[in-house]
Symmetry: C2
Subunit: 717 residues, 2 copies
């Protein structure tokens, strides 16, 4: 910043940023402008903020406090990737040294951790607010590299390999993805062939497409890697397993013999992480460094596994890595909250265009289009946040062992896949909407949107491409539907249902999939209910869409079961793929509506509950509005009720407009989290100053008359 001449007016008194919580911030604030509802219900921001903090309140608050206090860990935009990489590593060293309570939480108590699976993710999610590169490079180190040792290794391997991974003396890469195979991990080309003569595995990358690719820590800092490769012993390929492989000399950081790689260079974001490629030529590692929890090789090369089926074994190993998806769902929620808080505070203060000559200019949030752009996104962010909390509980139940059943593991994977895919997309669109809603100011890096968005971009394709994840989740939905059909077909009533093409069976959704069916009004359904603001109506409409889509896809895919021709089967799949993917989006929307509705019960303050019920209605109707064609085509909404959806949303948005700033304050991020000059109150001061200038000018009698008004009154200009 250079100012070579004094500004023409006194410098504005911009409120000094201090590490306060949003709630604390609000206490000293003056009443808001014209649109503040002085009568009627108000949001109890503190209560709502507390509710949003969820089960791991303390962990989340501590992580936020760390971010607010430690300016030195905040992202700096515009520095070189080299500088950003070193800075991120230094921050991680600081974390490992002084804040390992934050980053070791998931590890066993005997090694200095807390055995706290859920809390660990919560802490990681909040690091997004400091610097997404820090979050993801930490995620690579502790959430992937070390987590692979934790979840795929034996206790002996944990004791031997985890300490270095935990204290960062061994920075590590997680070498799963290959240039030729991203989401299709089962097909990776890298091989680990057992040599009984030396009791070693020989790691090889047999062709260019099998190079490991996009790996954090691979380009520069990684000293070891957990490498996924086809395990071959005694002439048999036992499928993909994970191996602990040293890759660099810890002193010189030179590659070890047989290891090579390339730097991925500059990326669309996350340039604090040194992503790169790795390849292996006859790299030998001792037998004991196959991470052996789910499969091991004896000295003579005999393979044994506690899981008989190679398919189930593969999915069990990959399932251990679901935590990445859970964390990304939470991070998307964090990103949307920070973005919406900034854009909403600005829109509440910024004025542009007057309703008429001599009128005051209007705040952006008092324009219908602007409300429609921002407020439904606030509502959806609440829905995403409440749903994420349920996902965290499910994850913690499975990974703490408290509720670790095969069925819960499957539910966890399905839920994580559907939620991660839809929330990362939502957060991306939200940040872009916020950026545009703030015009040129939104494009400056100092106001955060473009910076957060650039980093978040890759969340939509890593830890599973969103389309692939949705397809994965949808296959589960359709599979469950198939089982249910098979059962139903055994009874005449069930058969009748199948013939009628629709099933009322509520067995589709099992816990948590199952429980989705519980609240449906028996025998009710959308057409019977007339009030769009009736929760039962909203739920029935959302549920009908899930059932309708799943049923339609199941029917569409059915002929594929009867064919032995792979080309024909592929064609049938192709004809149904788009609807298949759509069905799990619909399922995620329903899941979130349920989570939101359940959360309403926990709000004690009557006014807050009333406002939040309206916010929930905005979410429900917004989902219905964006799928309005589906409801009309299926005859599930009449033309007049379909029209009412849009007008109802318009009226609800007017109702919540006075509470918009309260609603984003309750997200819980203070000025040192938002760190955006357009959201620090200076816009209001500028607006006030400008209006005061014109009022003073008018009062002075020295204001120029306008040619326009002179012409109107017939005077000569």
């Amino acid at each position: 910043m250079t100012t070579t001449s004094e500004p023409p007016t006194t410098t504005l008194a911009v409120p000094t940023a201090a590490p306060r919580t949003a709630t604390q911030d609000r206490r000293n604030e003056p009443a808001r402008g014209a649109s503040t509802a002085s009568d009627g219900p108000r949001v109890n921001v503190a209560e709502l903020e507390h509710l949003l903090l969820g089960r791991w309140k303390e962990v989340r608050s501590n992580a936020r406090r760390l971010v607010a206090e430690r300016e030195e860990i905040w992202k700096i935009d515009g520095i070189s990737k080299e500088e950003h990489r070193e800075r991120t590593l230094e921050t991680m060293k600081f974390m490992a040294r002084d804040e390992h309570g934050q980053v070791w939480r998931a590890f066993p108590e005997r090694l200095g951790g807390n055995d706290d699976a859920g809390g660990n993710l919560v802490g990681c999610e909040e690091l997004f607010v400091a610097d997404p590169s820090l979050q993801i490079k930490s995620g690579v180190q502790w959430g992937l590299f070390a987590a692979a040792i934790l979840h795929l290794g034996t206790e002996e391997q944990q004791d031997r390999l985890l300490p270095g991974a935990m204290d960062l003396s061994v920075p590590g890469a997680f070498a799963m993805t290959e240039t030729g195979h991203g989401s299709d991990v089962a097909s990776v080309g890298t091989t680990a062939t057992y040599d009984p003569g030396t009791e070693e595995f020989v790691i090889n990358t047999p062709f260019r497409g099998a190079w490991k690719q996009y790996l954090g820590n691979a380009a520069r800092h990684g000293v070891a890697a957990t490498v996924f490769a086809q395990l071959i012993t005694n002439g048999v390929n036992h499928g993909v397993h994970c191996f602990y492989v040293p890759i660099r000399d810890p002193e010189t950081l030179e590659f070890l013999p047989g290891v090579g790689g390339e730097d991925d260079g500059h990326k669309g974001g996350l340039n604090g992480i040194d992503n790169g490629k790795l390849h292996f030529t006859d790299v030998r590692i001792p037998r004991r460094d196959l991470l052996a929890r789910y499969g091991e090789v004896a000295a003579d090369g005999t393979y044994t596994s506690s899981i008989d089926s190679p398919g189930r074994r593969f999915f069990t190993m990959l399932g251990a890595l679901v935590q990445g998806r859970v964390t990304l769902d939470g991070s998307a929620s964090v990103a949307a909250k920070v973005g919406l808080a900034i854009a909403t505070k600005y829109a509440d203060e910024r004025r542009q265009f007057a309703a008429g000559d001599g009128q005051e200019e209007i705040t952006l949030l008092d324009y219908a289009m602007h409300r429609k752009r921002l407020l439904p996104r606030i509502a959806e962010t609440y829905a995403i946040s409440f749903a994420h909390e349920e996902l965290l509980e499910l994850f913690d139940g499975v990974f703490s062992g408290a509720t670790d059943t095969p069925e819960n593991r499957e539910d966890l994977e399905t839920t994580a896949a559907a939620l991660k895919a839809t929330s990362t997309w939502f957060a991306m669109d939200t940040l872009q909407t916020c950026r545009q809603a703030c015009g040129g100011a939104g494009y400056l890096s100092e106001n955060r949107f473009t910076s957060m968005r650039a980093d978040l971009d890759v969340y939509t394709t890593f830890e599973g491409d969103n389309h692939i994840l949705l397809q994965l989740a949808a296959k589960r939905l359709v599979g469950d539907h198939g089982k249910r059909l098979a059962r139903a077909a055994k009874s005449p009533a069930g058969m009748a249902g199948i013939v009628a093409g629709r099933l009322k069976d509520t067995l589709l959704h099992k816990a948590p999939l199952r429980k989705l069916g519980q609240n449906v009004a028996d025998g009710g359904g959308a057409r019977a209910a007339s009030n769009l603001l009736d929760a039962r109506t909203q739920r029935a409409l959302l549920q009908e869409r899930v059932d309708g889509l799943v049923n339609s896809v199941a029917m569409g895919l059915r002929p594929a079961l009867g064919t032995k021709d792979p080309a024909k089967a592929q064609e049938i799949f192709d004809d149904n793929q788009v609807e298949l993917i759509t069905s799990s989006i619909a399922w995620a929307e329903l899941f979130r509506w349920d989570a939101f509705t359940k959360a309403l019960d926990e709000i004690e303050d009557v006014g807050t509950r009333a406002i939040m019920t309206t916010v929930r209605d905005v979410y429900g109707l917004t989902v219905i509005e964006r799928n309005l064609d589906w409801y009309l085509v299926g005859g599930r909404l009449s033309v007049s009720r379909a029209k009412a959806v849009t007008t109802t949303i318009h009226h609800l948005l007017k109702q919540i407009r006075p509470h918009a700033v309260d609603l984003v304050d309750a997200f819980g991020y203070g000025p040192r989290h938002l760190r955006a000059p357009i959201a620090d109150g200076s816009e209001r001061l500028r607006q006030d100053e400008a209006r005061q200038y014109y009022r003073d000018l008018a009062a002075s009698g020295k204001a120029p008359r306008s040619e326009k008004s002179l012409r109107k009154t017939g005077a000569k200009a």
Copy 2:
């Protein structure tokens, strides 16, 4: 890039990039893979490419050749903003010195230009492919700063001030936007008060919100600025005028007395431009430096103008600047073409997942979801490109003087506003879709998507925020509708139409707005036609939507005319704003469909025309599909025909899939324009190498058996 160990296989022979046109590239290419249509029509790529080049073929080809030949003007990702800024300035100096045929084209012949308004924009559009910062910093210098002198100055002022602006000896800022006022230019706070004592204007920034903001060249390189300020003389404010104001010492680049400013710092993109703020305290400029084409001040302070109405004068001055919007529409088309060419070539080669055990993996474009993501965007890009060509013609007609009528000027502004808004959004979404469609590879800067998208982002809000532009265009549509209503009300038949709530009048759209009505099947309409592939059906559906929306908004806004209460009027506007904005989106969609359909007539090759007709159908039906709820609510499509829209698109996409690469090749960008490693053919080589490896392995008899297959056959693993 560091490779410290040799790759395990021979380095792949990647085709060397050479400056060839896309057509030339194709000639030596082998026939494409499994999905290439060997029978049936093929695209004549050369003819289609030629058609797309449009009226300014030579200018466009020359600009593309310049980009391909001059590697030193290509964007480098990851350099510091300081380095990028200096590099961009150096490139501009090179252009001004050696390539001024490119950048002076719009200026008068007497000053070294070509008086070629249309061609000038074409050349500027293509600079996007080299580096968007170069395009926009050039646009600031020659398209805004110099163009303000050209369009708002007298001949004397042009002769005196243009040469320095043209040859870049005077880098200039275009100081219109203020911190407090972006799109609402009429309300800027900066004042220029005439002092008859010294025959000078005194420029002042009276409060912080009146600082000029986001100005290219303001932070570092600008030596002068064209400053928009309220012209006050003899106690009367004559509204916003433009002034030529020196701001920095050309030698030291220090601000002149009374001038100050700040650097805008790092931005979401376009970091090769030194955007910044400017403010003025009693800065005096001579009377002759008011750019005086539309208003001047005599020595004694008397104001005169050739345009009586202050409102019309203001819009005339601003209208001179429409070329920015036209250029951005063209740039959006360029960005979408480059992005889709890269993503489509990759999707044609990249394989992932097999249809079943032992099957070959499938190319991405052979998945329905992937086709649905990319191919309709190729179709829409053609529509945008053909429509842009019409916009260029309209612009050139007005600015060359050939067809410069008030009505054409108004049409130009409306069309530019609606097209720029919708095409920049489209291009942004397209680049993001392409990035995700390429997974992790799409996130690397080397593959261009994230880099182009970051730069393009601000195109959605500069030169007019997209929502404001759409509202501007829509007000024109509704205004025309109002006049038509007033006329119709004079006849009983017309009154009956009004009462019936819908008007069949085709007067709504005048040239080019007007001509949109010409092709409507008389008395036809969508409901009568049954075939969605019938062009008349598509057109009638698109036209009905424009008419329906405009009519609905006009009816909704009507009560505002009868009220004197500004608050009430504002509320009525508020209730209709979203639909108002939607109506000009619908109008742009129709305009593009017409342009595409008209272009079909110019295709001589029968096969190409057949395929392009299908592409047009994809565009038309895609627009209808995304507004399906509107058609269903209005009863304009039956449920069964609405369903047919989606299934028809699915089948059309299968039909054009074999031509996908031809369709993007015809965009006319060769390897030195695309510059993306994932689109240079190496992916195909990698895929072939991997498949060959497995074939050789199988043939060698040394391939490990898989545990999975052994279990199936009952053998012991």
